[in-house]
Symmetry: C2
Subunit: 124 residues, 2 copies
């Protein structure tokens, strides 16, 4: 069984997490039976170690770790690979695969561009 | 003439800005004739005051300010309204409209969910 571990930055304001929870909810709705956990780097719970343990305990033999970040800065390029390496060490029965940040993927870039365009008048 | 001011966080790694530059390029391609500027809160140039001045100097009488952020944390809810208020004070000939963070908009949430799903095997 493959699980999904969505990883976001976190913030002090609880409202900040709403889009990330919405992403998790949509994947759960689209893929019933797939364990989906949302984890945060800081300020919010659960952290990635806790969420990863939940997925391993649920019986996942593979987990896709997907960073819900727009750009690949230090958190995605440096912090996250270390955290995923720790998950591999603690739960070697599962294969942990780290994907690119969603904001670097073409369909997400396209959606942001169309969203920005929608704030322009139709006749410039 | 309405201009577009895309506003992103910024980071030390120059590669971080690539998705944001891609968003700007796509809007420019889709809407030729619309002045589009990309500005950063920190680490990268131009800042929002410089980008806003460029748009005002280009003759924009209206500017849509669109935050390229996923969640609305302190930067979007507190810092950005102050910066937009400063643009209004410095360039009163233009109407400055602040939109929600793109990451809070349904099509962007949907694109992120579909991107995350694509990292799962087709048969879970």
């Amino acid at each position: 069984m493959t699980g999904l571990l969505l990883f976001a930055h976190g913030a002090r304001d609880p409202n900040w997490a709403r889009p990330f929870q919405a992403v998790a909810d949509r994947v759960r709705a689209a893929r019933p039976g797939v364990p989906v956990e949302l984890a945060f780097l800081e300020f919010m719970a659960p952290d990635i170690a806790t969420a990863g343990r939940s997925l391993a305990d649920a019986g996942c033999t593979a987990v896709a770790v997907v960073p819900l970040f727009l750009g690949a800065g230090g958190h995605v390029r440096k912090d996250l690979p270390v955290l995923v390496e720790q998950l591999r060490a603690h739960h070697p029965q599962a294969t942990w695969t780290l994907s690119p940040a969603v904001g670097e993927l073409d369909p997400v870039i396209d959606a942001m561009a169309r969203a920005a365009e929608a704030f322009l008048p139709h006749t410039p």
